[in-house]
């Protein structure tokens, strides 16, 4: 398959996924569009190195997260993680077991949003991948650390978020 065809196939299949990643990091639509373009540029530039070793989804997420972390013109420290109430995977952050059925109310969501934005950039990246419903193995493939390390980090993030949200209730 020619590079151009492969690029089109990847972008067509992953457009929504990439747009969601962009939406996690940018509130403003123009910024989202800029990051989207930047990710596509990096997919194009990295396409020659694509080997079928990893799944295409993981590969796309890797390019997207790496671009988000090094996005030109953005101050990483102030990078905001945007979550919305309709994200089906939102409960993975606050509810481990999934037993508790709950819909986050607007106030809780705002609190969660504030707490998420205090996280380090890497923790934000981990949360964004969790929100995408990726497994620990996939997240470890993307970030480049062991699965056990990902579990520890995510566990800590969840604990920290839970305790902060419970304190404020």
């Amino acid at each position: 398959m020619k590079k151009e065809e492969l690029f089109n196939t990847i972008v067509d299949a992953n457009q929504n996924r990439i747009r969601r990643i962009c939406a996690y990091y940018n509130e403003n639509e123009n910024d989202q569009q800029d990051m989207f373009q930047e990710i596509l540029i990096n997919i194009w530039k990295s396409l020659d190195n694509f080997k079928n070793k990893s799944s295409i989804n993981t590969w796309v997420y890797r390019v997207a997260v790496n671009t988000a972390l090094s996005f030109n013109g953005k101050s990483y420290k102030y990078m905001r993680l945007i979550v919305t109430a309709d994200m089906e995977n939102l409960n993975v952050i606050t509810d481990d077991s999934g037993k508790e059925k709950k819909l986050l109310e607007e106030q809780q969501l705002e609190q969660l949003q504030n707490e998420l934005n205090i996280l380090s950039v890497i923790d934000k990246a981990l949360v964004s991948l969790m929100l995408e419903g990726l497994s620990m193995k996939e997240i470890s493939d993307i970030i480049g650390i062991t699965e056990a390390n990902v579990k520890v980090k995510i566990h800590r993030i969840k604990d920290a978020l839970k305790s902060k949200l419970n304190t404020k209730r």
Binding site: E4, F7, N8, V11, Q15, Q37, L40, I41, N42, I43, W44, K45, S46, N49, F50, W59, R62, V63, V65, N66, T67, L69, S70, Y76, S120, V121, I122, D123, A125, D141, I142, I143, G144, I145, N149, V152, K153
Partner: protein
């Protein structure tokens, strides 16, 4: 919906044009720089041949050889840097990508050693060219001064342009590795 898809397709097709332009641009810059260096090489070779034909003093011929080899060294080194900076792979695991970024933006790394032979060759070439000891000493002082000024200017440039990038990448690595 169809209209949206068409607009989206148009945007992607427009982007591909931009990407190709970018690729061509990188390739053109690389080509131009190589052309300059590789043009200087035969020029020095021509000077060497002329010096041999005209029976110039051997020290002048050796000096020109030093300059020639220095040009080749700089050309190869520059080509390597160009390639390295143009081909950043964003599809690597984040931690690996960040470590490579830190390495790229270090002011002194193992890669920097590659520049030493080129500088030494220029220095040797200049030193051989001058006739007496006093001139050689003066040449050394001027050369070391010039290299020193270049080093300071380079460090200031690095401090402003690249140190923040290096520090940020390092900070992210620390965040990832702190378990």
């Amino acid at each position: 919906m169809k209209e949206h898809t068409n607009t989206s397709d148009n945007k992607i097709s427009g982007l591909i044009k931009q990407l190709k332009a970018k690729d061509t641009n990188y390739s053109a810059i690389s080509k131009r720089m190589q052309l300059i260096y590789w043009t200087l090489c035969p020029l020095y070779l021509f000077i060497i041949i002329m010096q041999i034909v005209e029976h110039s003093p051997s020290k002048e011929i050796i000096s020109s050889f030093c300059f020639l080899f220095a040009m080749v060294t700089f050309a190869l080194l520059f080509r390597k840097y160009q390639k390295e900076y143009a081909e950043v792979d964003y599809s690597q695991p984040t931690l690996l990508m960040l470590k490579k970024a830190v390495n790229r933006y270090e002011p002194f790394s193992s890669r920097t050693i590659g520049i030493i032979p080129g500088i030494l060759l220029v220095d040797i070439g200049l030193t051989i060219k001058v006739s007496d000891q006093t001139d050689a000493l003066l040449t050394q002082l001027v050369f070391i001064g010039a290299v020193g000024i270049g080093l300071v200017a380079g460090m200031i440039w690095w401090y402003i342009q690249y140190k923040p990038l290096r520090d940020h990448a390092q900070q992210l690595i620390d965040d990832i590795e702190s378990a």
